[in-house]
Symmetry: C2
Subunit: 331 residues, 2 copies
């Protein structure tokens, strides 16, 4: 067991999800890239809400979901992300704190409003996100809480943070603090289009040792190395990073270290309802395992267990205690 | 098939639900009456949110859920209920309109804010509601849209509307308009404690013919007649009302007319997740059947089908097309 105050601190875009079911035709009509995170402006946000079906509101944001997952597993988690002091901001703050996550980022007092993502879930369970970043655009180095980073075994952040203008500076600062305190850092590649926007910078983060661990799905790692060969991508990432956790949806996942590759099957589910949060919760389970000295195979298994819970209901955060599920599975 | 423009118009408290899972101990600690609708003031609302776990926001309100259910089944539905022009009000308006329900009640421009209900769901699937009525307190006769009532085969309203001061005047006005146009009226008794608060008035509505149809669960009908004998209550309601639909949770439901009692079993479910909206969706299915000239037994069956959908996920409104479910069941 690590002796840090927090097992995991995550940094990301603080977002409230507005989730609705739809058919594939709608995505085509509205020119929404299926399965991706589409960035939108305020006008597009208004338009999409006007044509969206009845929705459910729930706190989201990739790294926020991961922090909540770590807490639900029984770990100590902290979060950094920017909201506005408006109604959605209050919902976001309530939910993450009520989940047991330490969260103290100073909110904006005025515009832009708290970020929201209009998420359309198709009958196949795939989610297509349309994110208005709002207040997240204002995250900067001043939001990095040095004491919390120093006290966290792993600081984890989103590739999505390369979209806002100054968040990457916050990340570089956070990584410096973490490493100066003998801690580790991790990044999720977030989305294949995000990788495409920032490929060079992500590779540089890995090769320079700014990040120690990467989380990626199959599409993202293929995009990162601009290859169609999964094996080539695995070989490449082994050289570039101390540890990579690669998810492959229903095909399970891999953990790849310098010396070792472990591969596990996906955790069985009854029905895929909404894949929102799958990668985020996989990361939560994996990070919980890493910070509790589990073997890589068990880190990957816990990731699969947490992801399986979240994809069987609408919404990106667990609706049951992951700690209880973990205990039922014999951990 | 009726020739009315709307099959069903419902009138009720327009509420956004804030739903969280909890243990029974929490209800005891917070002195929340389990399974009931507890009315709360603004201070209590603030307190309950501060101690509530992470939550999901979704439009609710008993009669609003029923209108959405009718629309989801493929019927024409309209709704009357009071919101404030604030963030939650915008969510409520979006969701009900996006569900295909006609909704034009003029919102309040200022305080009080849109109503919210803090709903705690215990592991047995039971929901315990804590409702701050806010803007609903301002619903009055001026909100009754005469043209829509006149054009609705059935006008349906909540017993809950006896809590706000002037809503009952709106209801009496709506019933006059409905009957003057040869239409029918229906009431749901809403909650056993609500029945206890307004027993005399509810009985008078039935005995005077102000309402033609009542919806009730077992607890409510027992409370109405202050009896512990279900059979006595059934005998009494047959004298007092042209038609009663009585739900009994996992024991199924009954339709009781002057001449006839039909009884059906509950629709099978895999797992009870959250009972919020069960009665509302039962009413939706039953009313859809009535307005589409189905036999009473099929009205009850459709009620059970719609209720079964809504109790298998968190939230009080259908997450799948009830029309498709209905077709799958051979209707």
């Amino acid at each position: 067991m690590n002796t840090a105050k927090f097992d995991v601190l995550t940094i990301g875009n603080a977002i409230v999800d507005i989730i609705s079911s739809t058919e594939d035709d709608f995505l085509v009509e509205e020119k929404i890239i299926k399965g991706a995170m589409n960035l939108i402006d305020a006008d597009r946000a208004e338009h999409l809400y006007s044509v969206m079906g009845p929705a459910i509101e729930t706190s989201g944001g990739s790294a926020g979901n991961t922090a909540v997952g770590v807490a639900s597993l029984g770990g100590n988690a902290a979060y950094v992300g920017k909201i506005c002091d408006d109604h959605l901001g209050k919902i976001f703050t309530h939910d993450i704190r009520a989940s047991g996550v330490s969260y103290d980022t100073r909110p904006l007092e005025q515009e832009p409003p708290t970020a929201r993502s209009f998420i359309f879930v198709t009958p196949d369970g795939e989610r297509s996100m349309n994110t208005y970043l709002g207040a997240c655009m204002e995250l900067g180095p001043g939001d990095v809480e040095e004491d919390k980073i120093a006290a966290s075994a792993i600081t984890y952040f989103e590739g999505y943070l390369w979209d806002p203008p100054r968040a990457k500076d916050a990340i570089r600062r956070a990584a410096e603090i973490a490493h100066a305190n003998g801690r580790q850092t991790a990044i999720t590649l977030s989305d294949p289009f995000c990788v495409d926007r920032f490929r060079g910078e992500f590779l540089q983060l890995m090769r320079s040792g700014t990040v120690d661990i990467i989380f990626s799905n199959e599409m993202e790692i293929l995009s990162l190395y601009e290859t169609s060969s999964f094996q080539s991508a695995i070989d490449a990432v082994r050289d570039d990073c101390a540890l990579a956790a690669i998810t492959r949806s229903e095909k399970g996942s891999l953990a790849v270290s310098r010396e070792l590759t472990v591969e596990i099957e996906a955790h069985p589910i009854e029905k895929l309802v909404d894949s929102t949060g799958a990668g985020d919760l996989y990361a939560a389970g994996f990070l919980y395992g890493l910070t509790h000295d589990l073997e890589l195979i068990d880190c990957a298994r816990l990731g699969g267990l947490a992801a399986a819970e979240v994809i069987q209901h609408i919404g990106p955060r667990p609706q049951t205690s992951l700690n209880q599920l973990m205990i039922q599975e014999g951990y």
